[in-house]
Every structure is written in C-alpha cells, then in structure tokens.
Symmetry: C2
Subunit: 180 residues, 2 copies
C-alpha cells in the first residue's frame, strides 16, 4: 500500500503576508525579477509529480496561452468544474485527506499545494510536510492572505533560509513529526 | 535645527504575521529561547535614545517588577494617561509626525517604535526608517497582527538577513529614499 504523498507549499508572500492583490494580481512580484534567477522554482517543480490548486489559481492558469503543467497530474479543488478541461487536469470536491490518499494510491510521490484556501485546508488537515515562503520586500497593504483564517497553532522547523540581492528572503520550514 | 530622528522597528512575528496572542501573550516566543542569544536586541537597544509605544505594550511593561527602560526617553501614545508614571515616561496624544519632530528637537537621534498600532501609524505617516522582523518558526493561528490594517503599498529594501539554529529568521529592511 502506498502512503500519502509528500505535500509541499512553495509560495511568494509580501512582508505583510499577502500572496496576491485583492484582484489576484501578481505584478508586485516584478521587484524581485532578475535575469536567470528563479529562486529554486524549476528545481522544486522538477521534484513534483502532481499539483493541487484552488479554483482562483486555476482560473489564472487556464487563461494562459499554454497550459504550464504538461506532464504533471493536476487536480483542481472546486464545487463547479468547468465544462471541459484545458489539458488533462481533473476536478475534485471533497475532503482533502481523501484526495491526498487517492493521489498516494495512484503512486504520486510529491504534491505541490497551491493557493491560499487550499494551503489553509491542507494545513488544517495536518497534511502539509513543508512550506517554502519567499518574502518579497514589499508591504502590499491589502490582498489575498496566505494565512489569516483561524488555524490551529502549528510549530514549524526551519530547514534552510537564504536571501538574494533582489531582497527576496526565502525560508523553508518542515511540519509534523516525520521531518521529511 | 535638528532633523527628525531615525525611527526603527525591531519586532518578532509568527510566520502568519502575529506579534502576540489575542490576549497579548508572548509565551510562544519561548521556542527560540537559547542561552546567551538575544538575536541582536541588546545591540539594537544600545543604539536607541528613545522608545515610543502604544498603551497595550505599555501596560505589559508597567506591570513588570522593574521598569526596563531606565535611562531612555520613553513616550506612550495614549488618550487616557495613567494617574502617575512608573518612572520618567511621558504620555502623548496627537499626530505622530508632531511627536517625531518634538523628539528630534529634543536631540533624540534614534527612536524604537513598538507595538502593532503604533508601528502602523508610523508606517502610514512615512516616518519609519527601518524594520527588523524576526520570524518565529510557528503558525500562531490567531493574535494581534503586525500589519493587517489597510496600509499604502510600501517598497522595502533588504539590508541584511540571518537565521539561527533555533529557526528564527531575521530580516532588516530599510524604507524611504534616504536608505539610512
């Protein structure tokens, strides 16, 4: 029997804890754009077998010219699936623990959990293994929060941290007892 | 004529952006306690001539056995000053720009701005020169936010960052054009 997959968050946040503007806008991330620097994103994506995202994140991705997740299992948490998928993504409604178990049974080893709501659901269900936050050097003032809903107190273990000349500070935290 | 003093924030926050529990409690900071390690606090305090704090912070400090800020000018922002001070602290009601100008005229060179409300007032008034945040490796889930009120978008410049084996990640940001 397969265990549940490792579940990771990899997200940028303003110093005041927002992951997007109130309208979902991400233009403020441009302050850390630097030629040839992806802050570990490509290496992280290469380690991932599947993505789970919320409907807000999906709608942004589905609007792009090219589906960016070709070759990755992609599940969208939504109560209102669209008429047809963009690529081979699937849609899911139900408890996130059930989804995690189902992905594990499919042989998925590592899941990228994306979007504020989905991250909070994963965290609340105790399903998150690690959390990489890239703090952008900006007080955004308003937006979509990374945390903010009432969550249970959760200890984190810092695995590593780095900063870049652009001012981005990245910290990777592990959750839970397994330390993986 | 003296200019306004340099104004600094030096504060610990949970990864989800709280500076205290809903009741003001700070027990959760214990996870980063380590023998002989103060994360730069003593050096920062030695550089400070004056403190400005809100009433919530003051009430905690005033309840301690010993007044911890002997030898420092200390101003409490409050609409309801107590009948008598603990030490030589003073009380102020009015625009924070007026207070900053007054402290500058007194010859104060460096002010430690403390407490969520006061920090947000200082930030909104464009009076903050630097912001040192020590992220504690904890999702607290609820509490008194560091930011959270609607603030103007404010670019920050990372001056330095460090992490410690306890998991504390500290970043120092400069604000404004002076870069001091």
């Amino acid at each position: 029997m397969s265990g549940r997959p490792r579940c990771s968050v990899y997200i940028a946040a303003s110093v005041d804890g927002f992951i997007a503007r109130p309208d979902g806008g991400l233009d403020w991330l441009e302050v850390v754009q630097a030629e040839g620097e992806d802050y570990g994103y490509a290496a992280f994506m290469a380690s991932v077998d599947a993505l789970v995202m919320g409907r807000g994140t999906y709608d942004v991705v589905a609007g792009l010219e090219t589906w960016p997740y070709a070759g990755k299992r992609c599940v969208v948490l939504t109560h209102r699936p669209p008429e047809r998928p963009c690529a081979d993504e699937t849609f899911f409604t139900g408890p996130v623990a059930e989804l995690a178990a189902r992905l594990g049974a499919e042989g998925v080893g590592h899941v990228y959990v994306d979007g504020g709501d989905v991250i909070r659901q994963w965290l609340a269900a105790g399903l998150l293994d690690d959390l990489t936050i890239s703090w952008i050097p900006t007080v955004l003032g308003a937006g979509i929060p990374l945390f903010g809903a009432l969550l249970a107190e959760t200890p984190l273990r810092l695995v590593e941290s780095r900063s870049w000349p652009t001012g981005l500070v990245q910290a990777r935290y592990a959750l839970g007892a397994t330390g993986r």
